[in-house]
């Protein structure tokens, strides 16, 4: 029971970036899954930032209540199958460091959302897709379907998570 497939999903801490998670879990059928939500940031060169940087603190301020609620929602929905879903920060934009990070976290799979534009709150953050593409990890590229949400406007809130698949189904 303890062995679970670990899947990496890049996130900008918005509910939108979680929309493909339910689909991914369902595709895995009955396998146990662990989802690591990766948020990449560039190390600041300011000495005070370096001194006082704390990963826990950064995670606390970066995640909105809606984001954490959405994570809990997904966890509750797939309680049996989903071992855990948690955010992680990768600091730096160095490819070899990134590979080491993937190794250390034993990640073999990642999801990349094509045409998904990340919307960052902090200037330090960046989209780790390029790093992922150059790594040895098995990539699942999924088309991001923004256009489907025309009839029902996305609000950027928790509710988006719900209807994403109804809309896809209607299409």
């Amino acid at each position: 029971m303890n062995s679970a497939r670990k899947i990496l999903v890049p996130t900008d801490f918005s509910v939108r970036s979680l929309m493909l998670v339910p689909e991914t879990i369902e595709k895995a059928k009955n396998e146990r899954i662990e989802i690591l939500l990766l948020h990449a940031i560039v190390q600041s060169s300011s000495i005070t930032d370096l001194l006082f940087f704390s990963e826990a603190q950064f995670l606390k301020t970066a995640q909105s209540d809606e984001f954490t609620d959405a994570c809990r929602l997904i966890q509750n929905k797939y309680d049996q199958q989903l071992k855990s879903i948690y955010p992680r920060i990768f600091i730096g934009n160095n490819q070899s460091n990134f590979n080491k990070f993937l190794n250390a976290n034993k990640i073999e799979e990642a999801i990349i959302m094509n045409k998904f534009e990340m919307n960052f709150k902090s200037k330090q953050s960046f989209d780790p897709s390029n790093l992922l593409k150059k790594s040895q990890v098995k990539l699942n590229e999924i088309q991001w379907h923004q256009s489907t949400a025309i009839t029902h406007q996305p609000t950027g809130s928790l509710s988006d998570l719900f209807f994403s698949r109804i809309i896809t189904a209607q299409k």
Binding site: P22, L73, N76, K77, S157, F163
Partner: protein
């Protein structure tokens, strides 16, 4: 008696009794102390006098100088020395100066005190150092210091008591006012609220005191009152709106059928149509009446375990009974696996009314396009989301949507009274939940309802 006066009297009497006891105790113990102290001084003087007068003058020379230099004479100080012969003092020696009983006490006990008017007497039995003879030595003096100081102390205590009285009255008035004032404020605010403006609430303060408790209790009561009021209004508004259509259809059909002689088949057809409409009417009335139940069972509102998924299904049925044109799509894709996460503590009828109102609003203002209803649960909330693709709400009017009788500027094409949403919000608030509305004009509205999980285990 007014509560304010009661408080004042209570405070004043408590303070007064306290001050009286306090000053009385001080006066009593000081005067006691001063008496004993003065008798001690007299006794010492008696011993010195005896030594100076009765002992060998050579030996007592130094004592004499000391007493002359350092012991000032007390006012009206007198010394009496009586010799003791055969264990008795001769009566003629004593004379009228002193009562015999006092002399006898000194003779018996070796010492004694006696007070006559302002004169204090202290006596001792003195034995010469060679042991040959015994005397009784009595010193008397007026206690000028005592009488003077004690009267000064008495005056001091009395004046301070008078000042304290003033202070006490002022303080009691102030305290009673500061206690009564917030109560009066609450009374004033409550008087403003009547059935016409039940949506007004008292302003709760930050502190967690009894008055704040009173305010929130009162607000809770107003919430319940308003909810039941609005439920009735809601019923009337819905009924006038929804019951008209089938009634008109029945009347029209019957009128048309009766306008001239017809064949049996025609009558049958007309009656079937009337029957159909009557059935619809029946369903609508039942659904509306069910919604109109306020959840009061005569005594109190019952809060019990409610399963939200069942509730959503009931809502869909109710909505479609009220108007068969309304379409509701339910999305259970994010339904939590464990049913524990779907149970909230609440009143089923009220919650059903709240969600039905929101869904019906969605249907009404989107010209019967399908309305999406979704359900999910985080760790502390059950989240119900209702989304329509209707006319939406203009952004600058979003802040008014919870005001009773408010209707957005783009709703003139639709019938309504502006009762539904404030009512729903009230019900959600009664359940400690949250209601968020986000909307963009002409694109649709999303309503997010969060109800706290009931912590029911299986």
């Amino acid at each position: 008696m007014k509560a304010q006066n009661k408080i004042i009297i209570l405070l004043i009497s408590t303070f007064l009794i306290y001050t009286l006891l306090f000053s009385g105790f001080i006066y009593y113990s000081i005067s006691n102390y001063v008496f004993t102290d003065f008798y001690k001084r007299l006794e010492i003087r008696a011993v010195t006098t005896a030594k100076i007068v009765l002992e060998d003058p050579l030996q007592s020379q130094s004592l004499k100088t000391i007493s002359k230099e350092y012991l000032e004479r007390l006012p009206n100080q007198k010394e009496h020395i009586f010799p003791i012969e055969n264990g008795l003092v001769k009566e003629e020696v004593i004379g009228d100066m002193l009562p015999k009983s006092f002399v006898n006490t000194v003779l018996k006990d070796g010492q004694g005190t006696y007070k006559w008017q302002d004169e204090f007497h202290a006596g001792i039995r003195y034995k010469l150092s060679d042991g040959s003879k015994e005397y009784i030595v009595i010193v008397s003096a007026e206690n000028y210091f005592t009488t003077h100081h004690m009267s000064y102390l008495r005056n001091l205590l009395l004046t301070s008591f008078a000042y304290a009285l003033l202070l006490i009255v002022a303080t009691s008035l102030f305290i009673s006012k500061s206690i009564i004032k917030p109560l009066n404020n609450i009374i004033g605010e409550v008087k403003k609220i009547s059935s016409e403006n039940l949506h007004l609430r008292l302003d709760p303060k930050d502190s967690a005191d009894v008055l704040n408790n009173l305010t929130s209790t009162f607000n809770d009561m107003l919430n319940r009152l308003e909810t039941s009021f609005e439920t009735q209004k809601n019923f009337i508004s819905n009924a006038s709106h929804e019951l008209n259509t089938p009634l008109t259809a029945i009347i029209g059909e019957a009128d048309y059928a009766l306008s001239k002689e017809r064949s049996n088949d025609d009558y049958k057809l007309a009656l079937t149509k009337v029957m159909e409409q009557a059935d619809k009417l029946d369903q609508k009335t039942k659904a509306l009446l069910m919604l109109a139940q306020t959840g009061f069972n005569g005594k109190s509102q019952k809060f019990d375990k409610v399963r939200v998924d069942q509730l959503i299904l009931d809502v869909k049925e109710t909505v479609q009974n009220i108007n068969s044109d309304f379409k509701v799509t339910i999305d259970f894709s994010l339904l939590p696996e464990s049913p524990e996460k779907l149970k909230v503590r609440g009143n089923e009828q009220l919650l059903r009314l709240a969600i039905t109102n929101i869904v019906m609003n969605g249907c009404k203002y989107s010209d019967s396009q399908p309305v999406l209803v979704a359900l999910g649960a985080s760790d502390s909330y059950v989240i119900v989301i209702v989304r329509d693709a209707g006319i939406g709400i203009p952004e600058n009017e979003l802040k008014y949507i919870y005001d009773p009788y408010f209707r957005a500027s783009n709703t003139s094409m639709y019938e309504g009274y502006g009762i539904g949403l404030p009512l729903s919000r009230n019900i959600i608030l009664m359940h400690d939940g949250q209601l968020n509305v986000s909307s963009s004009q002409n694109r649709g509205t999303t309503v997010e309802i969060r109800l706290p999980l009931g912590n029911y285990t299986l």
